[in-house]
Chain length 136, copies 6
């Protein structure tokens, strides 16, 4: 199994609801250093997993929709705790959709899975892993 | 699959028995930077993998039993090479026990697995991965 | 010249005023990984720069006053851009005050300077360096 | 499952063929920070995954065959894009061969798999994972 | 004293002349992870050291002139060993020129100095520090 | 001002005397990731700060005298707290001596200073900086 990972980052404000979050129930913020991993069983015709330029560009585009925002005010997250693990899933699913739309190139249709890790500090991070099924 | 990882560290002395260890047969020591990863298939009612505050606290408690000690003098390790990979297992098993006892919260009973990585330097690390089965 | 550095982190929301900040004029947030460095010309009677336990504890206390907050609502920062470099100064000055009050131990009165670095992402950080003058 | 990872690095020149590579079609170069991971289900008689000294030495030997070279001129890579993911496979396969030859010690014959990650910068890396079958 | 640092990277091929370089006399390559630090005594009217967006953009532009090239064929480096420390100076001087031209904004004319660090691997890096004099 | 840094590591056992050290008064250990920085005003005839091969080799030799040892039993440290900051000085002074003896090459006699940083964990490190005077 092969994989390629690209890194970018995201700076957002948000708050959490639930006693388990303690002081993080207050409006605060985070830098998430985001690693997006693309997996496949075999390399494509160019001997790569994915066009790393397109992967970086599309990850940037996905993050651009969230960057420099207060997630408490994003309609699609209304009533949802935007935890690090949840955001990893949001980003992985958005990348999967872009793969299916062809935004990562035709070769990327052969990808087997996507994983996203969000580092919220030097001592904590969260990940989400999912399969990719050919769109056809 | 989702995961959350928290990081802490541990400073111990120890020695090894066996020619394979070369100069590490002498009493020496190590800082282990410890990453504990908690995995589960779906997020809990708070939209998280585990209460990251409890995870950090319990990892600290597990490491506190080993920290600033000479492992050669710890009775439970008598006659055992306390290799980095072995210590990863000791820590993962201790965390698993605490999950089963409820020390990581009721939601943590839904965890699927635990992984522990110990970094012994900038050029070497070791990991141990295990499943978690609901106690019930 | 000797130095000792301890690391902790801080998660806040804030916004900036001024065209130069672009989209960061919106309310967003950041994790700041904070390195506090204590400098002195000679080691103290215990052969150290500073009690690393007290240094860690006092850095934690200084960060605790800012952590999980929206800096736009902190009265002392009213009308001020809480840039990374500015926050480095705020933290360094708060640590300097604690050194003068004796909170880092009597030996710490011999410190020559303090530096604080705030990492706002994997690709950007800011620092502030200042001298410490004996209180006497 | 246990694993041990050792890190080393490699500095090479190369160029790529194919529009997807953009400016990387020109002769350029890279430092690859290389992590080699050895996996097995149970620890060996010395309570380890692999002799970390031999693992480091053999990884160094494998990298030594590529280090400080222009990969465009290496006969075995003629007509092949020496992408990061491809090089991860080349290194993993060379390590697997050395395991089978006994170069990592008799105990290493119990290894279950090898993974190799090549970091090409602070924002991109690639991996290859493979199983190891006992030579018997 | 305040500073702000931004990070980017560069991938080049080159070779060295001189016995001291051993196997690095062969054509090989490197990824340089590049940190550019801007220093000043006081913050500007926006409470910052420099517009971090412009700093990132201008660092990218400076690196863009070298990226994905064989430095042995760059006319301005003819007969020169393009060592890591030398390249740090080349990049710092190019940034200084851009500061003087106003490319980092009017406020940047108050900068006191520039430092550039090039990381050539996880175990080696080089830096160059220089003063900046107001262009006036 | 130019500098070059090389990294290696050291694994030792030791204990401290003095209440300030708390549980670290017990025999424990540490991995020190060691960065040795060599500084000079101008590059030498080869366009470098120092022969990075010799620098790495000599740092390794200096660390080899301490590695895999219990520092409490090293005669030259009898009655001394082998704190991280103190060990940074020991290593810097040993490197300075080797520079003066010519072990880092003739060109290294032009070095202006040496700095050594010892990372004792991911959240703490210590440094020592000293000048070098030409032997002549």
């Amino acid at each position: 199994m092969f994989s390629v990972t690209v890194r970018d980052h995201l700076m957002v404000a948000h708050s959490f609801r639930g006693e388990v979050f303690g002081p993080a129930q207050r409006l605060h913020g985070a830098t998430f250093v985001v690693d997006a991993t693309f997996r496949r069983a075999d390399l494509d015709a160019d001997n790569i997993v994915v066009d790393i330029g397109l992967a970086t560009q599309q990850l940037g585009a996905v993050l651009g929709e969230l960057n420099y925002r207060n997630l408490d005010e994003v309609p699609e997250f209304a009533g949802i705790n935007t935890s690090t693990e949840f955001l990893a899933q949001v980003i992985a699913d958005a990348l999967a959709e872009r793969v299916h739309e062809g935004a990562l190139g035709e070769g990327a249709r052969g990808l087997a899975g996507i994983g996203v890790t969000l580092h919220e500090s030097h001592v904590a991070w969260a990940s989400y892993e999912r399969d990719l099924r050919p769109a056809r």
